[in-house]
Symmetry: C2
Subunit: 451 residues, 2 copies
């Protein structure tokens, strides 16, 4: 790991300036692909193709995969056809497919022209699966074995096929119809007796997913079963690919970012922040701001409706923000907890009543605590009338109660209705709770203060 | 994978009732540990020890690891010393250490008494590292090789040592002082020529972490370098353990949950929602609600200060919620984006000015868009005076502007100051923006409406 990119960067720039390419090459070949990619992203554009050519073939391909798509695009534009072919032939099929999804049409054509027919067929195979499905993130390069093979045969086959395969940690066993019937880890093969047959040592209980399965489910399966590889089968149970854990980890990070964005009322996009244009950021945020602004109109209407009450008792206004905020925060706490539980599969719709009952009790405890603190503050610090303090504290309790219940039920109902529960986070809950808290406030004030 | 737990559960209960234990055993041995653990969690308590005893030894240990700590505790209480010893001896060291951290003192004593001295030493080794450090999540069972070994020697050593090791996907090469000098994958060993030496095929550029490194950094390293195993070294560079990717995935899920909780103003706890008691949930939420409630007092004070203005122009009140909510949402969008960028290492403090400049532009675009829409609505639907519409729309623009800037700078400043940026999410941003938006509102109203 390189700790200090800045000083490294300076060294590299100096070597480029002095045309000391041999020395530069020595430094680069001693680095890891992910670190070289970071270094590249900070080099001036005109030096990038030059420095890329200094990398040995396999390191070049590994580094290329780690780069962001803008940089990949730039490099490809400078490649000769031979250079492009060299890089593409070193890529794993899933990485090649991912690259093609990011590139503009003319670059895609060039890449596919440089790939050999078999690679092209495999890339197209992956590209035909829907976005975010298991099929779209799998690779078609894996080692498959037969049940009748001896350990020695299996090792020979692995040696022959293994060079092209992304991982040999798990080898899958298929029958005559290419159907998945077992799995055997390379560890088991190494540790087994040479005369054993694969069927003696293989595990017949293989966790697998269908090509059409959502990638979020794929990640949950990795986490649940502690896997490093997951086989992907088609509708007939035939093995068509594997997903490796590094890709699952990437998917998890991506899906988590999406959840965070949805929960903050942002339309998810898959580019890193600094790469996004101002217009892109604006587009992903403005529809939700508009929608929520319009929803807040109802809250305004409620206040207008009670205009006369407010005129005679203007002090009521001073506590509106506190009531709305506390309600919003109480609701968000519940909704975020439930949304996270749903996404980790810790909660399901059938738990609805247990959840509601739990939140019901928490709401009473929290409501009473907040009301007591607030009552003391109202009487001692603000020195308002006992009646007004009562109105505010009753509203507070009821608001917390309503907010917790809305916060826990809405995400579960959203999921049941087929929506992503993440949209039922703070912004929406807050808007709903705002209106409800005001209705409660004015209702109680009207009765108790006789407005 | 078992799709239908409910029907399986019924079958299992029926078999228990009819005492058909042989049949039950056949079903269980055909299941995966994670699935058996789910099944267990739904069995009646008195059947759990009985069913556990039906599992073959290694499956029992694998299943035990997948259970939650309440169930583990219950089973251990029913174990004889021999049974406990059997389970403990089958556990990997990191799993044994994790178990011990969860159990009450008397159970810990029993477990350690049943472990053999070497296991006990290794468990204590792991337990001495600070919580959430690389040392605390590593396992001390791994295969290490020497540079001078031939491939054949290495394979023999792996066969001898491999049974106890959690993974042999990566074998680490150490020198005479046990210092980490290289890594070689089992794949490379299998594919290498038998006469090669380890030093010919090993990779000298090994990514490793110090025992004291934070577990969040560990996960980021796994993701960055696409690893399945990460070696852990002590202060002198000696190899002391390895972290496997399945544990990294668990840490990632755990850390993500913590981030979600912090961002919703909840003190993180590590138990799943349904396992938490009402009091536990209340304790994790109430301090923040109180703190935020008290902070909202300032907002109330601002309103009280402008009481006279509100009395003469009571319509102003109707737009307070819309202004506060839109400000809060604008600020949350920016803060959540930045918090996520920081946690993915896509952003650093040195990007502060680029971030502020981007948000500055987004704020102007978003502010103008919202103001225009709102202006039309105010004039056409609400039919307020031109001057009031102007006051509201100017406030809206300035609020969005202030909110976006507070939202993007506060998380970065928090991180720079050594705090977790996640606390600078919606709840705090909203509270700050509320007060600022009201100040802007009344200031503009005072000037334009001559209050």
């Amino acid at each position: 790991m390189v700790d200090n990119y800045t000083s490294l960067n300076k060294t590299v720039l100096a070597l480029i300036g002095e045309k000391k390419f041999k020395q530069l090459q020595d430094i680069l070949t001693n680095m890891l692909p992910a670190d070289i990619a970071v270094l590249f992203s900070e080099l001036p554009e005109q030096s990038q193709p030059l420095v890329f050519r200094l990398l040995p073939k396999d390191l070049a391909a590994d580094t290329f995969v780690e780069m962001d798509s803008d940089l990949q695009h730039l490099l490809i534009q400078g490649f000769s056809d031979t250079e492009l072919q060299e890089v593409v032939s070193e890529l794993y099929i899933d990485d090649a497919a991912a690259l093609i999804e990011e590139m503009p049409a003319n670059v895609v054509k060039r890449i596919l022209r440089q790939a050999d027919p078999e690679t092209r067929r495999q890339i197209n195979e992956i590209l035909k699966y829907p976005e975010d499905s298991a099929g779209s993130i799998m690779t078609t390069e894996f080692v498959s074995l037969r049940a009748q093979m001896s350990i020695t045969d299996a090792i020979n086959r692995i040696r022959r096929k293994g060079f092209d395969s992304e991982t040999i940690n798990a080898c899958y066993v298929t029958d005559d119809g290419r159907r998945l019937i077992g799995v055997v880890s390379i560890r088991t093969i190494i540790l087994a007796d040479e005369n054993d047959r694969i069927e003696d040592v293989m595990n017949r209980y293989v966790v697998s997913v269908r090509t059409t399965e959502d990638q979020e489910t794929v990640v949950n399966i990795f986490a649940k079963y502690d896997l490093t590889v997951l086989p992907v089968v088609d509708g007939e149970g035939r093995l068509v690919g594997i997903v490796t854990v590094d890709d699952a980890l990437d998917v998890l990070q991506e899906e988590t970012t999406e959840d965070f964005e949805k929960m903050a009322a942002i339309t998810p996009t898959d580019r890193p922040y600094l790469k996004k244009s101002v217009l892109e950021i604006w587009r992903s945020r403005i529809p939700w701001l508009l929608l929520l602004m319009i929803s807040a109109t109802f809250t305004g209407m409620i206040i207008s409706h009670f205009e006369d009450a407010l005129k005679t008792y203007v002090l009521l206004t001073a506590y509106i923000p506190m009531l709305m905020d506390t309600g919003g925060n109480s609701g968000s706490q519940a909704s975020v907890t439930i949304i996270r539980g749903l996404s980790l599969n810790e909660l399901e719709f059938r738990d609805l009543f247990r959840v509601v009952w739990k939140e019901f009790q928490v709401a009473i405890l929290a409501g009473v605590t907040l009301a007591v603190f607030n009552f003391i503050k109202l009487i001692v610090v603000d020195q308002v009338s006992l009646l007004l303090a009562l109105v505010i504290c009753l509203t507070l309790m009821l608001t917390v109660f309503v907010a917790k219940l809305a916060g826990c039920t809405l995400p579960m109902l959203a999921q049941k209705a087929g929506f992503d529960p993440a949209v039922m986070a703070s912004p929406f809950i807050t808007t709903i709770v705002d209106a409800l808290s005001l209705l409660i406030y004015f209702r109680i004030a009207t009765v108790l203060l006789g407005l």
